[in-house]
């Protein structure tokens, strides 16, 4: 390896060159070709250099360029890139033509290189700042990606405040490990963990070890307003250069940078409300219903319950508890202030934001405050350094929902609560709920499940041009950073709660600290050389990254009344877990571009990791790609077809094993204060190696009428080999599984289609539509171990996923067992998904847009409806009464309570109106003398997020749900999930 660096030094000393610069000033205004209004944020670049600026809110710019500069380039997402000759002028006014799909934006091809979209061999999805948060205000970055990313299955795990969202690209690429893509923010391997607060511990909800309330994932710490663009490398063929951690795809987030020019100040305030998206409703009780209902709780007798019903009716005390608990209107506020600008030597972007969100449940909410400073500086003509600093303070109050084996969950207790019960506090004392183990009102008002995070992300970049002339550049790019997260959680259930009084030591609190430090350093040498019509880009480099996790908690049971300190509790429990991982990777890549007609790339990444049994063994991940721009060849004469590209790409990536997969352990126990060791049911596999995905992607991109209509069609086949899972053993051996075992292969096949059209483009009316369609199918193609149940679940009776040869791992199976085999049911992955994004610009100043998201197919295993049927409170419980031959009367709800497995596997198709917005923009001229002096632009608007839901799903509040959080299989389970909310906003944006 050292030879490599000697070579660097050698090259640097030999090839350094220097040019003398003399500047001239150019200014002008960039306008929209259709309506003539100024276009803000257009990148203006002296062609062939990095010297540039951006237009202000009115489209104006001024730029100082070397006298030798002949051409200025104007580019902005949504417009066709345009060039202007400036040899003989100092003023340039440009009007940009609209493009439905920007083919000139650049997409990443290597760790240090990028290529124009029109030359890309992969279907790389990009989301611009405007698409991300330009219309409405989802709370988190991942929520903002909904419906904007073909090939992705994005699922909100629950409606609890603060997110909890899973993103899966091109189907599951793993069974046991995370399905989350790798997030890279400004070059740093970002932490997207979600940390367990311990709410499932027996002291709290006794729901078991698996997290069952869809905890917040840490992407929620990132302020979406700071993001310039998101690029998504969906499959292995695009992500191969990221190697061993890229099996689930890579999401590359670039934050905003300052641009040379006048200082720009932007202020944005959004205020809104959030309310429950869909109510299930509850059926009331009658004397007759009580008589026929066999599972009475409370007094447990017909006479007793009828007496209570009559008393409640007489007193007018019939309550709508769903409304009481989930009927709150939460207040939403989002404030954002940013300042950006720069001189020719230094550029900055500084922002501060505060998001404060209420919830549909009283007392719950989410808050995030963040500050960011991105500074780039040209130390010399050939040396640029940058630093990006982000501090976030985020917190949420999630409350208690989802599964609870002691009913300490508002959504679990609700279905059993008859409307004639009175649980309202009297003089601050909450009556016991005799219809369950806990009062949901007491949990709502008195239980604490809070999380707060302090996070610091610091990245630095260095670009050094060792050589730069007309034909050749040699650049050293060093990028590194740290991502430090400290997430602290507090759980508290007071000692006098009903569910706590059932414990020998009532009152429980738990304080968890999850500390994670990710660091990484990438060093890349990029050589670009023009050889006649062929452009060559070579790169080589290395990456080293480390992840250190330290999680601990102190838990107290048997609390002093009113005191939360676990140190004073009767029983004190400590927990501590460490994870330490280091990866090292090397890569080389060669790209060649023949006159934008033929573009080819070849590369390989080599990785080693302490997650593998042999930590210094290298694993190699090759890639190759080819794109042909047929319409650019001379023989192409069809003018109407402006682009015709065929492309193919192949690549391999890895999926890392879990930490500790090769350890065989003993567990500690104690008796009589004497420490002992006992068996662990897990056996470590001694040859743990990464999973390997090999993907072949092919596609055709077409552009018509100057790219006013574009069509992108992609097919892929991603084969995951050596899937890491636990190899199941016969439990009678005392060992249930071998961890980190390669159990077989799986294939994902899919189609992604994108159609973008500027349907109408008139001065006073413009209409853009972008339609995306995608589907994915998964199948286990090789299985070296027996059929096994995978993923979490509540037993075969309600549906489980299993790993079975020639079957989809996400398909539901369940009771009854036929010849030892589970009965197959439907698939949990959608048949297909579609989105329709529509943007209208009317009279230059009015922007109207809406985004519809359709998910067709995909079944959930749901127990939520069962809870209501068991409690006799389902809205339709008494419908369709039937008398059996033996005279017993059954109702719809009662029959459903006794249904077989098939009834719990329910169609979770939906259509959601994800986003709708209406904005009016006042340009400087329209603002008049007073405001116009200070303001460049004022934008006001209203928007909605998840306004409508249309679904056949009756199993729960929202078909989009995952009781067990983000996981490759077993994700689509619904058990008393937190209901989803709709959000409505008023927006005000001022540009100074």
């Amino acid at each position: 390896m050292k030879h490599f660096f000697f070579m660097v030094v050698f090259l640097m000393t030999c090839l350094l060159q220097q040019a003398v610069a003399q500047d001239k000033s150019v200014s002008g205004r960039v306008t929209d070709g259709a309506n003539g209004s100024g276009v803000p944020g257009v990148t203006v670049l002296a062609k062939g250099t990095k010297i540039g600026t951006a237009t202000n809110a009115d489209g104006q710019f001024t730029l100082s360029v070397p006298t030798a500069t002949t051409t200025l380039q104007f580019s902005s997402i949504g417009y066709k890139t345009t060039e202007r000759d400036i040899t003989s002028t100092a003023t340039v006014d440009v009007s940009l033509a609209v493009e439905a799909r920007n083919l000139d934006e650049v997409v990443v091809t290597g760790l240090g290189t990028s290529v124009a979209r029109s030359n890309s061999a992969n279907n790389v999805a990009s989301i611009s700042a405007a698409e991300l948060v330009g219309n409405t205000r989802p709370a988190t970055v991942d929520a903002a990606m909904y419906g904007k990313l073909s090939g992705a299955v994005i699922t909100q795990n629950s409606g609890a405040p603060g997110g909890g969202i899973s993103v899966q690209l091109r189907g599951p690429s793993s069974i046991s490990n995370s399905t989350e893509p790798l997030y890279i923010i400004d070059g740093v391997y970002a932490n997207n963990s979600s940390y367990d607060s311990g709410r499932g511990a027996s002291a709290f909800t006794a729901a078991g070890g698996s997290r069952q309330d869809g905890a917040t994932n840490r992407m929620s710490d990132i302020n979406p307003d700071d993001i310039e663009s998101i690029e998504v490398l969906k499959g292995s063929s695009a992500a191969a250069i990221y190697g061993t951690r890229a099996n689930n795809g890579v999401i590359i987030i670039t934050t905003k940078r300052g641009k040379t020019g006048r200082t720009q100040v932007g202020f944005r305030q959004d205020v809104g409300v959030t309310t429950i998206l869909r109510r299930l409703g509850q059926e009331d009780w009658t004397e007759n219903k009580i008589r026929n209902f066999g599972r009475l709780r409370g007094t447990g007798t017909v006479a007793g319950e009828i007496a209570r019903l009559n008393a409640a009716q007489a007193a007018g005390q019939i309550y709508d508890y769903e409304d009481e608990i989930f009927g709150n209107t939460g207040f939403l506020s989002n404030t954002n202030l940013n300042v950006s600008g720069g001189s020719d030597k230094i550029r900055y972007y500084i922002s501060g934001s505060n998001a404060d969100e209420g919830s549909i449940v009283k007392n719950l909410g989410f808050r995030r405050s963040s500050i960011r400073a991105n500074i780039n500086s040209d130390i010399s003509k050939n040396l640029e350094i940058g630093t990006q600093t982000n501090y976030t303070n985020a917190s949420n109050q999630r409350g208690f929902t989802n599964n609870a084996n002691n009913d300490a969950s508002v959504s679990y207790a609700l279905p059993y609560l008859p409307s004639y019960a009175n649980l309202f506090p009297v003089n601050g004392v909450y009556p016991d709920n005799e219809y369950g183990g806990e009062s949901p009102l007491a949990i709502r008002d008195r239980a604490v499940n809070d999380e707060k995070t302090n996070r610091f992300i610091q990245t630095g970049t260095l670009n050094y041009y060792l050589l730069r002339n007309d034909l050749t550049t040699l650049r050293l790019n060093v990028q590194g950073g740290v991502d430090y997260t400290l997430t602290e959680q507090e759980l508290y259930l007071p000692d006098d709660l009903q569910s706590q009084r059932a414990n020998a030591n009532p009152g429980a609190s738990r304080y968890s600290k999850n500390r994670q430090l990710n660091t990484n350093l990438n060093t890349i040498l990029v050589l670009q050389h023009q050889l006649g019509k062929v452009g060559l880009t070579s790169q080589a480099g290395f990456v080293r990254l480390s992840q250190n996790f330290d999680g601990s908690f102190t838990q107290g049971e048997g609390l002093i009344p009113g005191t939360r300190n676990p140190a004073l509790a009767k029983i004190q429990t400590l927990g501590q877990a460490f994870t330490r991982v280091t990866d090292i990777g090397y890569f080389v890549q060669q790209e060649a571009n023949f006159d934008d007609k033929v573009i080819a790339a070849l590369g390989v990444r080599a990785d080693k990791s302490t997650l593998n049994s042999d930590e210094n063994k290298m694993y190699y991940f090759p890639k190759a790609s080819l794109a042909l721009n047929i319409a650019k060849f001379d023989f192409w004469t069809i003018d109407k077809v402006s682009q015709f590209k065929v492309r193919a790409a192949y690549g391999e990536t890895g999926g890392a094993a879990g930490f500790g997969d090769y350890f065989s352990r003993l567990l500690s126990v104690s008796i009589d204060n004497r420490l002992g060791l006992r068996n662990s049911t897990l056996i470590g596999y001694d040859k743990v190696a990464p999973e390997r995905a090999t993907e072949l992607e092919g596609g055709v991109d077409l552009g018509f009428f100057n790219n006013r209509l574009t069509l992108e069609a992609t097919v892929y086949r991603k084969n995951v080999k050596g899937l890491i899972l636990t190899r199941p053993l016969a439990p009678s051996t005392g060992a249930t599984s071998v961890t980190g075992f390669p159990i077989g292969d799986m294939v994902n096949k899919g189609i992604e289609l994108g159609l973008a059209v500027t349907a109408i483009d008139r001065p006073n009316f413009r209409y853009n539509n972008r339609t995306q369609f995608w589907l994915n199918r998964t199948e286990v193609t090789k299985l070296d171990v027996g059929t096994q149940i995978v993923g979490p679940g509540f037993g075969n009776f309600f549906g489980r996923n299993q790993l079975k040869l020639n079957e989809s791992p996400t398909r539901w199976f369940g009771a009854p067992l036929v010849n030892g085999q589970l009965t197959p049911y439907q698939e949990s992955q959608p048949k297909f998904q579609m989105t329709f994004a529509n943007n209208f610009t009317i009279m230059k100043n009015i922007d109207f847009s809406f985004l519809i998201h359709v998910k067709e197919g995909g079944y959930n295993s749901t127990l939520t409806q069962l809870l209501y049927d068991e409690g006799g409170t389902t809205k339709d419980f008494s419908n369709d009464p039937q008398t059996a031959p033996d005279g017993t009367l059954t109702t719809l709800g009662e029959r459903r309570y006794n249904q077989e497995t098939g009834g719990f596997i329910q169609n979770a198709s939906y259509m959601k109106l994800r986003e709708v917005s209406l904005y009016y923009t006042f340009q400087k001229a329209a603002l008049g003398e007073t405001f116009g002096r200070a303001l460049e632009r004022v934008k006001i608007g209203v928007s909605g997020n998840n306004l409508f839901l249309i679904t056949p799903y009756k199993g729960g509040y929202d078909p989009e749900v995952s009781a067990f959080g983000s996981r490759p299989v077993g994700g689509n389970i619904d058990l008393a999930a937190f209901p989803s909310a709709r959000r409505m906003f008023f927006h005000l944006a001022l540009d100074f």
């Binding site: 806990e438 009084r501 126990v669 008796i671 420490l675 002992g676 030892g820």
Partner: protein, 454 residues
């Protein structure tokens, strides 16, 4: 030019300094969280063996974290099926619907949790046996003591498993988890348990006069090889009556701590210290609990008990508990607190095994004597030699039901004597007809292993 050269050299130097070996070489990671199992198997010290022995004492209780609260299910499941208790849960109706035979038991749900727990305890015991067998650092007497204890412990766990699995059988040879033996039928399982206990007995006989490992307070009276052997024989007696082998049972009882004069409740105990890493008595329940999962006494406990029987104190009145179409006004009151010990096997069980064995080996007088020890103690009418054999057996079963209440025995007793019909299946108030299960199903993973490895 010179300026750039300097800069370039500085930069190159910086990058190079990173190129040292530690930067590009990865070091072996050892487990930062748990002890390494292999370190305890290769040449273990006596201290390491003692850690494993202590671990087994703890594991026999099988309610450590992550063991699926094994003892809870191992006592509740036979308790519900044997109609000693109900588990009435507002958050999980399967304690009723599946255990009372309304719907088939799902072999993949939590009700099979005991299986992994007791199988894990078996492997804890085998780990000690393997480690002690290898260690050159202990004497032969010490080795025999470790092995005797390990084999007795594994036999105990196998007995619990076979009580629940019954005619499904059990894997006996599981020494290599990657190549386990086949599931053996029930009679062979019971024979294997007997062999293991007998082997342990011969090992204790060669173990000298002191045990090399510390013994917890619950086993204070069983802290030498000779007294530990008596516990071993008590388990052998329990094993023998599983297949109604009365001669064998009698021999084992007589070599155990059986005594007609000692307290009926005498015997080894699972003792509990409390919080992590020790555990609680998970069978304890707060009086009159209003929680979501509540164990109540089966109503027949109170209706069937004889008026003067002092064992009525094993239950207490509570507020009516009604869920899932069942209800009760009584709850078990066996344990005073969540650190109260749970008996492993009691003298009164041995007395009743002896009585049953005497009765079936034509020694009626001795049987009557044994029964009346308990009749007198618990203030119920004594039996006489004039009573019929059938009546005496019923009397033994009555005493077993009340002396061993909620200890997982009634269901097993009725089953081995072919009298499950003594239980009348109830109908719930929402119209569901129950039945009496004979055994729990083999867990799903256990079935799948054999499918995948025919």
């Amino acid at each position: 030019m010179y300026k750039y050269l300097t800069k370039a050299l500085c930069l190159g130097g910086m990058v190079l300094s990173l190129g040292s070996c530690s930067f590009f070489e990865l070091e072996d990671v050892s487990d930062p969280n748990f002890p390494d199992r292999s370190a305890f198997l290769a040449n273990p010290t006596k201290s390491q063996l003692d850690f494993l022995a202590t671990g087994i004492f703890s594991d026999l209780r099988t309610n450590g974290s992550g063991t699926g609260q094994g003892i809870l299910l191992a006592y509740q499941v036979p308790g519900v099926i044997g109609r000693e208790i109900y588990v009435l849960s507002t958050s999980d109706n399967r304690y009723v619907t599946e255990l009372l035979g309304i719907t088939p038991i799902d072999n993949a749900n939590f009700l099979s949790g005991y299986f992994g727990s007791y199988s894990s305890a078996r492997r804890s015991a085998r780990t000690l046996a393997d480690a002690a067998g290898n260690s050159p650092q202990i004497t032969e007497e010490q080795r025999n003591a470790y092995l005797g204890f390990a084999n007795t412990a594994e036999a105990y766990a196998m007995l619990v498993l076979s009580d629940l699995q019954y005619e499904n059988g059990l894997r006996v040879d599981v020494s290599d988890p990657l190549k386990p033996g086949k599931i053996l039928p029930y009679p062979q399982v019971v024979a294997a348990i007997k062999d293991k206990l007998d082997l342990a007995a011969t090992q204790f006989a060669k173990a000298g006069t002191t045990l090399p490992f510390p013994v917890p307070s619950g086993f204070a009276n069983f802290n030498t090889p000779a007294t530990m052997l008596r516990f071993n024989r008590a388990l052998a007696a329990r094993t023998a009556i599983r297949t109604n082998k009365y001669t064998e049972a009698l021999a084992a009882v007589q070599a155990s701590f059986f005594s007609l004069t000692a307290a009926p409740t005498a015997g080894p105990l699972f003792n509990y210290g409390g919080a992590n890493p020790d555990v609680f008595n998970s069978l304890f329940q707060v009086p009159n609990s209003k929680g979501s999962t509540v164990v109540v006494a089966h109503p027949s406990f109170v209706t069937d008990i004889r008026p003067t029987d002092t064992r009525i104190s094993k239950v207490r009145k509570r507020d009516l508990r009604a869920t899932t179409g069942l209800s009760s006004e009584f709850e078990p009151a066996i344990y005073a607190s969540n650190t109260a010990p749970i008996p492993v096997i009691k003298n009164e069980e041995l007395i009743l095994i002896a009585a049953e064995a005497y009765l079936n080996t034509a020694n009626k007088a001795k049987a009557v004597e044994a029964i009346n020890v308990l009749a007198n103690f618990y203030k119920v009418a004594p039996v006489t030699i004039a009573d019929s054999d059938a009546k005496l057996l019923n009397e033994i079963l009555y005493h077993r039901r009340y002396s061993l209440f909620y200890e997982g025995q009634r269901w097993v007793d009725l089953r081995r004597l072919n009298r499950l019909g003594d239980i009348t299946p109830e109908t719930t108030s929402d119209g569901k007809k129950t039945s009496v299960l004979k055994q729990l199903p083999l867990p799903f993973a256990e079935v799948q292993w054999d499918v995948a490895n025919p």
